[in-house]
């Protein structure tokens, strides 16, 4: 079966390249402007980039941890 153009390895490599390029572009765009900081920390270089990235990693790790405690088979309540 012919692969859809969107899932071909070449396309996916291209998408990653465009994505990484865009990420770099947002950092550059942030550097050339005077970002207004309301607090101290949010005036640091590329604050939103690193803060968003780390917050997400943190939330995913916390989620994994909580999942170990609280996840059950999806038939858990059906057994009654």
């Amino acid at each position: 079966m012919k692969q859809h153009w969107l899932v071909r390895p070449g396309t996916i490599r291209l998408l990653w390249a465009v994505y990484l390029f865009t990420l770099a572009l947002t950092i550059l765009a942030g550097l050339i402007t005077d970002v207004h900081a309301w607090f101290r920390l949010d005036g640091s270089v590329a604050f939103n980039a690193w803060f968003g990235f780390l917050a997400c990693i943190g939330m995913i790790l916390f989620t994994k941890l909580l999942g170990h405690l609280l996840q059950r088979k999806d038939t858990y309540y059906d057994r009654d």
């Binding site: 899932v7 939103n48 980039a49 990235f53 997400c56």
Partner: protein, 562 residues
Amino acid sequence: MIGISAVPPGLPLILGALLLPLLGPRARAVLVLGLPLLVLALVWQVPDGTSLRLTFIDYELAPVTGDRLSRLFGTVFAIMAFAGGLFALNRSRVVELVAALTGAGSAIGLTFAGDLFTLIVFWELLALSSTLLVWSAMTDRSYGAGMRYLLIHLLGGVVLMAGVIGHVADTGSVVFTAMLPDSPAHWLILAGFLVNAGAPPVSAWLPDAYPEASPTGMVFLSAFTTKSAIYVLLRGFPGAEILIAIGLYMIFYGIVYALLENDMRRILAYSIVNQVGFMLCGIGIGTEMALNGTAAHAFAHIIYKALLLMSAGSVLYMTGKRKCTDLGGLFRSMPLTTVCGIIGALSISTFPLTSGFISKSMISQAAADQQMAILWFLLTAGTAGVLLHAGIKFPWFVFFQKDSGLRPPDPPLNMRMAMILFAFLCIALGVWPAPLYAILPYPVDYVPYTYAHVVAKLQLLLFSGLAFFIMLPYLKRTLTITLDWDWFYRWLGPRAIGQATRVVSRWHAHRRIDVLRHLGHLFGTLFLYHGPRGILARTWATGSMVLWVVILLGIYLVAYYY
């Protein structure tokens, strides 16, 4: 004189809903689409102040009382009823449409309630019609979930009613106006409101009940109950700081549980709790900017969440599957559903040029203006988390990830049109926010599209997306659910009662004779003193009574002298 402005705007929807079973399909379609438009017109006929007064016992009720806030919510509820009706037109059972329109009418009714009694009537009607909407999926699971939904909401209604009675007893007034959480009555009212908002510890009713409704039913459900709770909190408890803590809990609860979830519509249900959390934070901050932001966010949220659920509902309707583990790769055969789902996902993630960007940002701005640093950082982290669970996870696992081999086409025309309408509104509000800003409760002094804001938002969201794809191995879906507070009443409660019943009946079987003997003694003693010939049942001479009175008076006299 009573004119058109004195018609409660929700009433035509409720009365019209009751006519639906009597009509043929064509007339029913006219009513389902026409009534919300009529109601939208009525909403804008309601002037500021009270235009209808009724007397109930000694209280003066004000069932039609308007201002900017009530017209804003009335508008979005009417738009929602129209699009939801369009989406549901081809397949819904009549009972589902009746329940949906009654729910919409009740929600609109309570946004124009000027007194607490009218509010409660519509509040309860909304709970009943929402239960019926869950049940109208007519499955065993929907029956159980609807029953749990009903119990929680009747409990919430009782708490609210108790608070209202206390408030009326304290103040003598039934007028629904801003309150402070400063007395037991007001705490009860606040708690009753918060039950419908999906606040802890009862948040679980929402992801428990909504996803058991039909593909079209959940679209309606997502809009009315939680957002009418936001409306009453905006009016009743602006600036109540406890709402910030509750809101923050809900933001992160929604993210974490949605990340663990496998059922696509349960992901979106947790996401409702998350979004309502942002709104509670806005109400808790309580400045004009924050309240405007909350109202705008509720407006935008109803539209993009309905769009997301229409897209998920279309997938469920066309494939019969609801778990991420069974889905994937649907973009090949459902391009329109995919694009509309992505537009909804971009909006909820607050991407520039979508409705989320111009609304939710006002809440963060209000936190910054008030120098609430911790809140601001947590709201920013929460925004990143929304992108994770609703912005990427939902479209990625449903429309992309692996190829599930499923090749369903896009859904029927009416469903496609409803999605296109709401996708258009998501973008239109994002590109041209002025009409929404013009109808917010307070004058708007906020410019969303500044260079710094757009760049900051793009950095935040795009780097959060990077984190999602880097951590993708940790986010693989499994056939699991996640335990929540409802474990106490769904698992522990029934088992505790079962165990207690066994213990009591075993004890009863062993000790039955003893118990009966003890009871026999007890009744024998009672009979001795209180029976027909018992000492306390005898007729006494009048003289003895006089003697006792003299003795008592004598004691009193002596006590008085000393």
